[in-house]
């Protein structure tokens, strides 16, 4: 196992030294920081506008600004106490003279009051919805106040009745809150990125060693098992470090942006020990087993340009797992999600999603975990054998089925 450690150390340092690794990590961290800054800005702005709205709707200055460029004509005397009329720039003797002034652009809008509950708001091409809505609201208040006074009703009593609020919350005891939905989404996307990115890294790395003929030297000096284990774990750790960097950046950004992290996490996301263990167990084992599979597929080709063809089948399976997980977030009780959470190549994403969103029985989780662990043992064994067999084949791309048959016939040993 000493050589596994050597391979791991060499490969790990090699990945960390790569400019592309450093650049990707920095760019992703910057994206996280930018996202937090934008979110923080939007939240602050919303809070500010909510504060403004709740205190004062319109100041006197606002009213003057809104109404000062208009004119009105009233056909009824009942509006003589309507205080708003004082703010409108000009009163007209009749409707026609108001229209003439409006058409000559002497005023920007005109209001014709036919009665206390009927008025026309006129403009000459240039719309002014704020003034119209404002006048309508004020006229409604004027009528209500008059009605309350005429009938000896206390206006505050009425306001109180209408301001009573009822808070209704729908609770499904099998399902967790919206915070968990967001958390499941983040978990799925991060794990998807991690597996696709580092799976491809591992398969390319293996294919490159065949392409540049380093493989023969490596195989001559150490066992294929040690090579694939060291290489896979190195890429795995490099990927997890990158994710860790993103999480730390996110938490620090939230802290410095003034958001209360404890509230943010504790207030919305409901995670218990079972959920956390499931996420770690399935995430880690699934990630490593996919990396083993990618490494084995990389060993089937001899040229770098063939890597994409070799990894396509497993990538399609993984994309299917991702789509099922995304679909399952909207339909966590669906049969598809449930079935996928027992299938090893899809349970890596789907079982954690179910556990994050629903209260799943520990028995279900344990059955799926047992299947997952058994599959990993099989995948790792096959991956090592495929890697051993493929590592010295410099000819055409080896077919997966044919390679499996050779392994079953023991031609790899």
């Amino acid at each position: 196992m000493r050589n596994s450690g050597l391979v791991f150390s060499f490969e790990f340092k090699s990945i960390l030294r790569k400019k592309s690794y450093l650049a990707t990590t920095i760019v992703l961290c910057l994206i996280v920081i930018a996202a937090v800054i934008i979110l923080s800005f939007l939240v602050n702005k919303e809070e500010l506008s909510e504060d403004t709205d709740s205190d004062v709707l319109f100041t006197d200055e606002d009213v003057n600004d809104i109404l000062s460029d208009g004119g009105y004509y009233t056909a009824t005397d009942e509006l003589k106490d309507f205080s708003l009329l004082k703010n409108i720039k000009q009163e007209f003797a009749d409707e026609d003279s108001l229209k003439t002034a409006l058409s000559n652009d002497e005023i920007l809008f005109g209001v014709v009051f036919y009665s206390t509950s009927d008025f026309a708001f006129m403009v000459n091409g240039e719309q002014n919805p704020i003034a119209g809505a404002f006048i309508e609201q004020q006229l409604l208040n004027f009528n209500r106040t008059n009605y309350f006074e005429a009938n000896n009703i206390d206006p505050e009593l009425i306001t109180g009745i209408y301001n009573v609020q009822v808070n209704a919350t729908n609770i499904d005891i099998s399902q967790k809150g919206i915070g968990n939905f967001v958390f499941a989404m983040i978990y799925t996307v991060l794990l998807y990125m991690l597996i696709i990115l580092y799976g491809t890294t591992v398969s390319s790395s293996v294919a490159r060693e065949k392409d540049n003929r380093t493989m023969e030297l490596l195989i001559a000096n150490t066992k294929a098992d040690y090579l694939i284990i060291g290489k896979t774990l190195a890429a795995g750790l490099a990927g997890m470090l990158q994710i860790l960097a993103l999480i730390v950046t996110l938490l620090l950004s939230l802290k410095f942006s003034g958001q209360d992290i404890i509230d943010l996490i504790g207030g919305f996301i409901e995670l218990n020990a079972t959920t956390i263990i499931t996420m770690v167990l399935f995430g880690l084992t699934g990630y490593i087993s996919y990396l083993f599979i990618y490494a084995a597929l990389g060993a089937l080709v001899s040229k770098m340009e063939d890597v994409n063809y070799a990894v396509t089948p497993v990538m399609l399976i993984f994309i299917a797992a991702y789509l099922i997980a995304i679909y399952g977030m909207g339909n966590p009780h669906s049969l598809l999600l449930k079935v996928a959470s027992y299938f090893p190549l899809t349970s890596v994403l789907t079982m954690p999603v179910r556990t994050i969103l629903l209260n799943i029985s520990p028995v279900e989780i344990m059955i799926s975990a047992a299947i997952m662990l058994a599959s990993i043992a099989i995948f790792s064994f096959l991956a090592i054998r495929i890697y051993r067999l493929g590592s010295l084949n410099y000819g055409n791309r080896m077919k997966f089925g044919k390679t499996l048959k050779m392994i079953l016939r023991g031609e790899d040993s």
């Binding site: 050589n3 050597l6 391979v7 060499f10 090699s14 060693e209 540049n212 003929r213 380093t214 493989m215 023969e216 030297l217 490596l218 195989i219 001559a220 000096n221 150490t222 066992k223 010295l392 410099y394 040993s413």
Partner: protein, 327 residues
């Protein structure tokens, strides 16, 4: 230390590549492994290195099963390969460690070899920045790291200029002096002849010769003499010999020769002194009469052509005759 291959067979699918391959190599002696392209040299070497598992047969080191990863074996594969984008010293240390050396030991060894091959200034550079010849030297260095007990070099001289080849030759000579077991395959017969005490010749997966080069040459030169005349060219000399000695049976005993001026004759039917007297009596002015010493190329062609004839269905006796006529 004695490395012994016993009846190694290896097939790839229906293609039987090695047929009962057997040979021995002793430490302190260099063994030249010769063969045409596709003859089975690299497959045999890969079997020794446990890269390929033989279908049958055994590989022994001092009569014990040979496990190359448990011994320090320096290996230079035919298909050269190292990490082009990694610093040179770092990857040399890595390969040294994979072979069982400690980090400090591997670093010290790598630095010494870099200095010996005049590449110290590139220690921290990536391999890809070096010229092809210098990359070849780095690959050779990795085979010599950590003072290996056994050194296996597959076509080591390809791509080396004469100056670098000389550096490399010194390294091989030193290894032989230090009692290392050295195997190297090459198409360049001159290099093999220069270093190798022993040769193994493989053709179409069959071992044709395994033994001391001197013995092989001695066997080939037995009863064979080179004759050159000052007053006759080769064709005229051949005609003259046919007239003066019918017992000589020239049809059988005159051997093929690339040389346009001398003849190589098998004198197993006549004492050399008698033959010489008859030639002198025929007024041939002898310029050179000497024991024939075959070159390694002669040895190679001799056995490969014989094997060709045998594998093409001609019986052994006829093949031997044809071989003698043809070399």
């Amino acid at each position: 230390m004695k490395l012994k291959l016993n009846n190694i067979n290896k097939s790839f699918g229906k293609l039987h590549v090695l047929h009962d391959v057997s040979f021995e190599v002793d430490s302190g002696r260099a063994m030249g492994f010769l063969g045409r392209n596709g003859s089975g040299k690299t497959t045999s070497i890969r079997c020794i290195m446990d890269i390929f598992k033989p279908d049958s047969g055994e590989i022994l080191l001092d009569d014990q099963p040979f496990k190359p990863r448990e011994l320090k074996v320096g290996y230079l594969p035919e298909e050269r390969g190292m990490y082009s984008k990694e610093p040179i010293l770092e990857q040399l240390i890595y390969f040294g460690q994979l072979r069982g050396g400690s980090k400090a030991e591997s670093k010290k060894s790598a630095e010494e070899w870099l200095e010996r091959f005049e590449l110290s200034e590139y220690a921290n550079k990536k391999l890809e920045v070096l010229s092809k010849g210098n990359q070849q030297k780095i690959q050779i260095i990795q085979a010599f790291l950590n003072d290996p007990e056994m050194i296996i070099l597959d076509e080591p001289f390809s791509g080396l200029d004469p100056v670098n080849a000389e550096l490399f030759k010194d390294a091989i000579r030193d290894a032989i002096k230090k009692n290392k077991l050295v195997i190297f395959s090459s198409h360049q017969m001159g290099y093999v002849e220069e270093f190798c005490d022993d040769i193994t010749l493989i053709d179409k997966g069959d071992i044709l010769i395994n033994g001391s080069l001197a013995d092989v040459k001695a066997e080939m030169s037995q009863d064979k003499y080179r004759l050159e005349a000052a007053n006759l060219n080769r064709e005229q000399l051949e005609q003259e010999l046919k007239q003066i000695e019918s017992d000589l049976n020239l049809e059988q005993n005159l051997l093929a020769n690339e040389d346009k001026i001398s003849l190589i004759i098998n004198l197993s039917n006549i004492a050399p002194n008698n033959f010489l007297q008859k030639v002198i009596a025929a007024d041939v002015q002898i310029k050179n009469f000497s024991v024939y010493l075959p070159t390694l190329t002669d040895v190679f062609l001799h056995y490969v052509k014989e094997h060709d004839l045998l594998t093409n269905g001609i019986n052994e006796q006829d093949a031997e005759k044809a071989r003698d006529v043809s070399f």
